[in-house]
Amino acid sequence: MTVATELDLDSLSIRQVNAALQGAEEGAFRVLHAGGAHALACGLNATLDVTIDGHAGYYCAGMNKHASVTVMGNAGTGCAENIMSGQVRVQRDVSQSLAASGHGGLVVVEGSASARAGISMKGVDIVVGGDVGHMSGFMAQTGRLVVLGDSGSDLGDSIYEAQIYVRGAVASLGADCVEKPMAEEHTASLTELLARAGLDADATSFRRFGSARKLYHFSIDNMEDY
């Protein structure tokens, strides 16, 4: 078993912790006494295994590439923002703008996510064990947003080609977002994603949402939607 290198924020600055992580080429790390610090483990660029012991503040694991980051507590706004690859896992809840503009990789939240989860997502896969807040999937471009619980209002507003799966209730759909049929390919794809996320749920119990593609070209005929 690999022994994790401990980085203690009681004695190290955030810069020192991030510099150690950003400079590592491989290995396991455990960040102690996170204390809600901001910008923790951001900009990682190697196949590291990082565990954050406690709560993380804003932009935890921002722009992650290759690394696997696990937050043992809650995470603040913009967790895994613009993630490129790798995996970010939060064991409790996250605040707003989860994985905003994420380009790739996998983001798993075992608890719930607040407003605008997956906003402007660009290829990332997001799986939320609980609920998501309003305007989740806003202007979502590509990738998948999976919600095991309920969604707040205006889900998928102005969505492009991203796919949204929700198991619970949807308060309302946003502009140009519609429910679409679950074909076999979607069930298979979702089953694989749920397994990779390590969350137990039956893919056939989800509904699928995506773009009606009515707003892809500016048209005066869509005035009521603008």
Binding site: N82, S101, M139, T142, Y216
Partner: protein, 444 residues
């Protein structure tokens, strides 16, 4: 017959067009009535607003000693990002190239801007759509914009950049997002933006992961952490409330504040937005400087001014009001060939004329600049166009030096408000310098 003849000799009322309903207004009403859609165009505010032409330098006199032209040194170097960045940007001239996207502009145009700027030892800036290899390769100093859309955003380019500019707004449309119409969304542009080819691409008006200056402070911290606190971080604001926005940018931790006035260009926005939102550059500069001075941050946080900068005179006046550098966009495009009268016949076929062409969103630019059509883009030779830009920047720089020497300044940054007076009451009030021939500063 006699009566008719008398009438013809009677004085007649001249046909008189309305100042309120002038020809442009009437045409716009008819166009709107026929199409049911508002006008979208590129560029900045076209109507006349108080500007740097409304100021003049006083020059030397009995109590002010000039420097000898072509002999006595007048430095033009500027360093941006001295507050927190471990690697500030050193510019040889106080004129930079503003952010303009690949997508809006052709790859050739972006390369030309990089070449021209690099020759002159100054920086160029990416835009909404990410960084292209051509641009990075030909730009010795490249500022990477972090925009609300985050199109093409990635940490590798962030680290490859020489500075980072968080764009809160731009002068042409403070508070507005963008729209790149489908005809300019080629496969390459679409790929860089992670969207389907050929659809209209909305650029969001709000950042996806922060709202307000408190969040921005943390966002800047993240950007610094990702880039090891090396890169200067600019915050660009559209000129709307420059005093407060500058102060809040400083509070959020900016190294550099960029203030873009309403004459600053855009790739594509509603005409009504361009012409009716935001304030002129002239009005914004003193307010931004006042905020910096009150925070004791003037010259520690550098101020870059943009929006309608056309000449060395404009640059010198912006510096005299307290800016550290300027950025040019529209003027740089003109320098590399935009709206060239030599293309008049082609502009006519597009229903316009050289000097007025602003349908940049359509992608049919005969100059090969605001287009993604390969046959049009190929018309622009990036080497020649880059040379034209460097020539233009050279002239502007010499003009700034000429004016600085005339005011007895051995460094262009030593120009000061005391060197200026205004020709109009409005300009005096906005620039906070006296009306010429008086000691009166309206509102002062």
């Amino acid at each position: 017959m006699a009566e008719d003849s008398d009438r013809s000799r009677m004085p007649q009322t001249m046909p008189r067009k309305s100042a309120t309903f002038d020809d442009h207004t009437l045409a716009e009403i008819r166009r709107a009535a026929a199409t049911g859609i508002y006008d979208i165009r590129g560029g900045g505010a076209k109507r006349r607003v108080p500007n740097f032409d409304d100021l003049v330098f006083l020059g030397a006199s009995m109590s002010r000693y000039p420097l000898e032209g072509y002999r006595e040194r007048c430095d033009t170097q500027v360093v941006l990002g001295t507050r927190f960045a471990s690697k500030p940007i050193e510019l040889k001239i106080p004129i930079t190239i503003a952010g303009m996207s690949f997508g809006s502009l052709s790859a050739q145009a972006k390369e030309a801007l990089g070449r021209g700027a690099t020759t002159m030892g100054t920086s160029t800036t990416t835009g909404d759509g990410g960084m292209t290899p051509e641009e990075r390769g030909h730009s010795d100093k490249l500022v990477y914009q972090v925009l609300p859309s985050r199109y093409g955003m990635n940490p590798d380019d962030l680290r490859r950049a020489d500075a980072i500019e968080v764009v809160v707004g731009q002068g042409a449309k403070p508070g507005g997002g963008g729209m790149l119409l489908g005809q300019k969304i080629t496969e390459r542009v679409a790929g860089m933006r992670d969207l389907p080819k050929g659809i209209d691409q909305r650029s969001a008006c709000r950042h996806p992961d922060w709202t307000g200056p408190d969040d921005l402070e943390i966002k800047i911290q993240e950007l610094r952490e990702i880039t090891a606190w090396e890169k200067p971080i600019y915050v660009k604001i559209g000129a709307a409330r420059p005093y407060y926005d500058t102060a809040l940018s400083v509070k959020a931790g900016a190294d550099v504040v960029v203030v873009d006035g309403m004459q600053g260009g855009t790739a594509a926005t509603q005409d009504v937005f361009i012409e009716h939102v935001g304030i002129p550059t002239l009005a914004a500069v003193p307010e931004a400087v006042r905020a910096l001075q009150e925070l004791d941050m003037h010259r520690q946080v550098q101020l870059v001014v943009s929006g309608g900068i056309r000449s060395g005179a404009d640059v010198a006046k912006a510096l005299a009001l307290g800016a550290d550098a300027v950025a040019i966009g529209t003027a740089a495009l003109v320098a590399i060939g935009d709206n060239d009268p030599a293309l008049e016949e082609e502009y006519n076929r597009l229903g316009t004329t050289a000097g007025a062409y602003d349908d940049w969103q359509d992608g049919n630019d005969p100059a090969g600049i605001t287009t993604q059509r390969p046959e049009l883009a190929a018309r622009l030779d990036p080497v020649q166009a880059g040379r034209r830009l460097s020539n233009y920047l050279t002239v502007m720089t010499m003009e700034v030096q000429t004016l600085a020497r005339a005011n007895g300044k051995s460094n262009v940054l030593n120009l000061e408000p005391e060197d200026l007076v205004a020709l109009t009451v409005e300009a005096a009030a906005m620039a906070k310098v006296p009306l010429a021939g008086t000691s009166w500063i309206p509102g002062g």
